[in-house]
């Protein structure tokens, strides 16, 4: 990190690292904007709600500038990462799966949305057995739903599938209790 070596280093700009640095600088800007919009009561002068946000803002700014400097001086990516090409298509399909889950979870309920996401992510990772994945996803989603919703008492969005099954489970429990 010493500046005296600067002239010796071959400066080659690392674009991805530079974008990260700029993105973090933008975050620091957002932190500054949000910090300045915290209302401070004049009655409360000792340590108000803005002291730590200011510290964070200054720290973020300095660090993002240091990262930008590092990016201008060649970046810091590990060699092994640089040599591996990123599989954008696989990542894209995974992202589509996540968005599908986000969009479907309220109208269709957790299980149905999870099955769609499960199949898409499997496809992104290269699985070519959609029917088997549907089945696996369904089993897993139901296990997760009943494990968390019924055993842990976590309220997860119930849709058509869950409501039907809940009725069935409740009636079985009632039957067992006689």
């Amino acid at each position: 990190m010493s500046t005296s070596d600067q002239q010796a280093a071959q400066p080659r700009l690392a674009v991805p690292e530079l974008l990260i640095g700029i993105g973090l600088l933008a975050c620091a800007g957002a932190v500054a904007w949000q910090t300045l919009s915290i209302p401070v009561s004049p009655l409360y002068s000792k340590v108000g709600p803005t002291v730590f946000p200011y510290i964070t803002m200054v720290g973020m700014t300095i660090l993002s500038l240091l990262l930008i400097v590092a990016a201008l001086r060649g970046g810091w990516q590990p060699e092994e990462e640089k040599e591996t090409p990123t599989d954008w298509k696989a990542m894209g399909i995974v992202a589509v799966g996540l968005v599908a889950n986000l969009v479907l979870i309220q109208p269709l309920g957790f299980t149905a949305a999870s099955v769609v996401m499960f199949v898409l992510i499997c496809h992104g990772f290269g699985s070519r057995h959609p029917l088997r994945d549907v089945l696996l996803g369904l089993i897993l989603a139901l296990a997760a739903y009943f494990g968390f919703a019924r055993a842990l008492g976590v309220n997860i969005g119930a849709g058509f599938i869950e409501n039907q099954l809940n009725t069935v489970v409740d009636s079985i429990i009632r039957m067992l209790r006689g």
Binding site: M1, S2, D5, A8, A9, Q10, E17, I20, V31, Q34, T35, I38, Y44, K46, V47, G48, P49, F52, P53, T56, G59, M60, L63, L66, L67, A70, R73, G74, W76, Q77, E81, T84, P85, T86, D87, A90, M91, A95, G97, L98, V99, N101, L102, I105, A113, M117, I121, F125, S127, L136, L140, A141, A144, F148, A149, L152, G153, V154, N155, I156
Partner: protein, 507 residues
């Protein structure tokens, strides 16, 4: 021997059938997630945090501690058989362990790592039992200024001193600070960093952050690297019984590893990487079989680092329980579990929650015994877990990630934040930013702020409290040395060797 009395009491808590069941469940689950690449104890405990609304604190901490210890055992299995470290702390184990497996001695490697983990885990837990009360006595004299300075020291050590780059480590830490401050400031009632969104008033749940960074981020990362080539599972060969020669070569390495791991873990710096690497270097130096290192695999190179790893995992519990100072992502999430019960870890914990603390420590001894049984005779079961294909594994992880996140408040906003953090987690993984400081930062920053305000209120707004108290000054000085020292050292080294070439990755 006050501690022995407490321990006896702790065993009476831990030996109830219900708590034994939680311990068994935790260790089994922990081993499984340790074995599975892509799942870690921090993520698992985060997903299980809702359990804190359902069961007594003793039960959930026995469960979490079982997961924590179990993941250390399971992680080494993956390192040895797959050469993909299941946990960052088991990177070193992969070095020699995988070579041993390739040369047909996988059984011995698994045995020395499981028994070594048991020996070191038990020694480390004894260390917790005997060291914690000492630290508690010391910590009772801490005022808010000392606590604040101690947290500053921990911030520096977990982000800037450990890891490959202090700038990137600190960046992660500050991102954690920002996330930690989102929501209503508890002291003044002012909303902060909410961008005017009412959904953010309650802050961002640690579950969302942990799941986003560790589960979603990891899934993106693995999806992006399908060209990277896969590691093959080495079929388990060789007897699980170690020969007399292998015992002779292992036991000293276990003890040395444990002696190295526990103190480093117990320092307010934490981290299992340093003691495992140190142990590896020492074993390599002391070994009479140097030619086996890096070729067919040396058993000392598995035994030492594995022991160091488990002892340091135990050590991390000392600052967590006695000072409320988490130094790993898992410890930070356990701290948020304490908060969820309204319990503040710290010196008072040992007085007000003696059942909980000593029951937890006693359960760690039991967990170690269960784990060595789970991981030796039942090893075949865990090897089968390694065969779960990646597509279904990661898709399944995300189903559970959705449950954990959506279950918090059924708000799609949480899912949006989860996926954004997942994207950030991918970039962090890809560009070598450590993720643990984010979690530690978000949990600890608000606590540091509270202590800071307390100190300033007591001193009537006089900043000098932080450097007039000798202990506080010492801690801050150490933090400053931690931040600046390595750079000065590197600068002097470079001056001396006159090697002005630019090293990528020194930012």
């Amino acid at each position: 021997m006050e501690t022995l009395g407490h321990l006896a009491h702790g065993f009476s808590v831990a030996f109830t059938p219900v708590n034994l069941m939680w311990c068994l469940l935790g260790t089994t689950l922990g081993t499984a997630i340790g074995v599975l690449p892509g799942l870690g104890p921090a993520l698992t405990i985060a997903l299980l945090l809702p359990i804190t609304y359902q069961v007594a604190p003793e039960a959930s901490f026995i469960l979490f501690a079982g997961i924590y210890y179990g993941a250390m055992y399971g992680g080494s299995t993956t390192s040895i058989l797959l050469n993909t470290p299941g946990e960052s702390a088991t990177i070193v184990t992969a070095l020699e362990g995988n070579r041993m497996a390739r040369s047909g001695r996988g059984g011995a490697a698994l045995a020395t790592s499981a028994i070594g983990s048991f020996v070191a885990g038990t020694l480390g837990t004894l260390g917790v039992a005997f060291l914690a009360p000492v630290v508690v006595k010391f910590a009772l004299s801490f005022g808010p200024a000392e606590y604040f300075s101690l947290m500053v020291l921990a911030f520096i050590t977990v982000s800037a001193v450990l890891g490959s780059s202090s700038v990137r480590g600190l960046t992660s830490l500050f991102v954690g600070f920002v996330i930690g401050m989102i929501g209503v400031d508890l002291q003044t009632g002012q909303p902060r960093f909410t961008f005017g969104m009412s959904q953010l008033l309650d802050g961002v749940d640690v579950i969302v952050v942990a799941v986003g960074l560790f589960a979603v981020g990891e899934t993106f990362y693995m999806a992006s690297r399908r060209y990277a080539g896969k590691d093959e599972i080495v079929p388990l060969k060789g007897s699980l019984y170690m020969t007399a020669a292998e015992w002779a070569r292992s036991w000293k390495a276990w003890l040395r590893g444990a002696l190295l791991g526990f103190p480093i873990g117990a320092l307010p710096a934490g981290g299992a990487e340093i003691p495992t690497f140190l142990s590896y270097a020492i074993e390599k130096k002391l070994s009479k079989h140097k030619e086996e290192f890096g070729t067919v695999g040396a058993i000392e190179g598995v035994a030492g680092p594995e022991a160091a790893n488990n002892a340091s995992a135990a050590g991390v519990l000392v600052p967590m329980l006695t000072l409320g100072l988490p130094t790993s992502a898992t410890a930070a999430i356990m701290l948020s579990a304490f908060q969820s019960y309204g319990i503040n870890p710290g010196p008072m914990l040992f007085m007000t929650q003696a059942n909980l603390v000593w029951g937890l420590i006693a359960s760690l001894f039991i967990a170690n015994i269960i784990l060595v049984i789970l991981n030796l005779p039942l090893i075949g079961l865990w090897v089968r877990l390694l065969k779960i294909p990646a597509p279904q594994l990661y898709a399944g992880i995300l189903v559970f990630a959705t449950v954990g996140t959506y279950g918090i408040s059924q708000s799609p906003i949480d899912l949006v934040i989860l996926y954004l953090l997942g994207g950030a987690g991918f970039l962090m993984r890809r560009f070598d930013f450590p993720t643990a400081p984010v979690i530690i930062g978000m949990i600890l920053w608000p606590l540091a702020e509270t202590q800071f305000r307390r100190a300033m209120t007591i001193s009537n707004g006089d900043w000098s409290v932080f450097y007039k108290h000798p202990l506080s000054l010492t801690l801050l000085t150490l933090a400053f040395i931690g931040l600046i020292g390595p750079h000065i050292y590197a600068f002097i080294e470079r001056r001396r060797t006159r090697g002005p070439e630019h090293v990528p990755g020194d930012a």
